[in-house]
Amino acid sequence: MGADFVVIRHASAGVPYCLSKILKASVINAGDGANEHPTQALLDMFTIKSSKGGIEGLTVAIIGDIAHSRVARSNIYGLIKLGAKVRLIGPPTLIPSGIKEFGVEVFNSIEDGIHDADVIITLRLQLERQGKGFLPSVNEYFHLYTLTSRRLKLAKDDVIVMHPGPLNRGVEITSKVADSSHSVILEQVTNGIAVRMAVLYLLTGARENA
């Protein structure tokens, strides 16, 4: 067909990579399994940069199901590369093994983990995780890891709160926090369009002219 781009989202990790080896077209990974979600990380970092003026030196806390999150992995790679300190917060059952070797700090306590954070990224809790042994119940998760206004006070005064969407309101984040002045969740949605346009743009003639 002679397509210039293949945008692929796939349930299996590594599919975009394998595809890129056999296609002449540019392959854009729109999320592969629990591996990566590069455009989400790009738009997250763009959002942080817009709010904070830069990324270097910031403390970014990512809360939740890190083990199954492609968003978390891409953000870890990107944020560390740009000089942020990355903290991961979650129950040990949802923290993937070997993750400390990526250069992050791991916290099992949300209170410890979000202390003095500049940026908090909450992740969607896949509700089907309970009953699989990862978590006793959503109720207990709420008590331990939900980002509430009370906990938010432990972070810096000008902390921004992010979420890749869609939200489980009252599970990983309360509505009060999601709709507060700290929240940049809607900016993330808007920036997503711009960032993805930019990706496509850079992969066309723009790259050759650059």
């Binding site: 040990p92 059952t93 009953g131 042994g133 978590l135 006793p136 109720n139 008590h143 331990l144």
Partner: protein
Amino acid sequence: MLKQFFIKNGHIVDPSQGINSTGEIFIENGKIKSVKVSKSQSVKDSDTKKVIDAEGLYVFPGFVDMHTHLREPGFQHKETIRTGTLAAIKGGFTSVCPMPNTNPVNDNEAVTEFILRKNYSEGSCYIFPIGAVTKGQRGEELAEMWMMKKAGCVAFSDDGMPVMNSLIMRRALGYSKIFDVPIISHCEDINLSDKGVMNEGKLSTLLGLKGVPCASEDIMVARDIMLSELTGGRLHIAHVSTKGSVRLIRDAKERGIRVTAETCPHYFSITEAAVKDYNTNAKVNPPLRRDEDIEAIKEALKDGTIDVIATDHAPHHTDEKMLEFDRAPSGISGLETALGLSLRLVEEGILTIEGLIGKISLNPSKILGLEKGTLKAGADADITIVDMKKEHKVEAERFESMGKNTPFEGWVLKGRTVMTICKGNIFEIS
């Protein structure tokens, strides 16, 4: 409740402070105010206050049983919180940790709160409940451990119903790291046990009873050690009964894995020979083993491989035990014989008296993070006074416990609790 009193002239043994000598303890408002070990002091105002003369007696920090079945809620025909804690006091225990296999199972904060509230109104000693690892002890889904911890649980265990699914056990050990409490494992491969009722060997064949091989325990000890190593979670092995378990735990400790272990008096006092007459009071899970296992367990107590002596007090109704051997429930009523049986280890030179007190008081407190097992100033005045020379015959009919199921009936034991002080009350034991 006496506001202030002294215990004088007793021989105090308190491993938490390295005390092993004659001395005096001053108690005020249910707390230990001071401990003095020099003989020369004479507290003048002691004349005006109540004095307990412990001349010729030993004074210990109250014992802590980290493995008890109190049967309430649900099985009050076997035991209640009221009778179980009275049995504890009689045995010298001031804190007991009831296992969650009640009905309903203690797998949520409401049951934990019920147990604590019940003990508040009816109990004689402290209770630190152990919550279930999985909902209904079914081994399928994690129970709400954090909420139970908040309600007062100090550890988690599916005691009696081993977590057969290694993935669930992995998750439990991982999850427990959030609040750093131990997962207590009843190590038994249910498939391998295959409804066996006693130790597997010549005797089981002779009796025509189905046996449980030692490997049934050893395999799970090995698995759980590996899962503890994998997750970094704290593992406590319940009721060690085999030589093989001892070897595995010793090796794990040498390798720095976060594992601790307990055994029970029956596992170092009697062998499978006790079931010879189809005596259901000697039916226990894990089953009584062989001489070589007893030797290994004694060695492990001596070198510290086994940290704790717990009772696994498992009372049953007399009618339930009066059944065919293979149909009778497992368990021994142990709170009131534990001290006498354990003191035999001191007599044999296997443990020093400090060593023994460590294993029934300080060590379980440390493992569970309790502020117990010590006579330090400021601690609750949980004190057990023992006449080390007093011989007494075990007579189950005289147990405070409703469970009269003991294989030690008629044994003459040396060393007996004569007074237990707990929650500000002084219990004189006749």
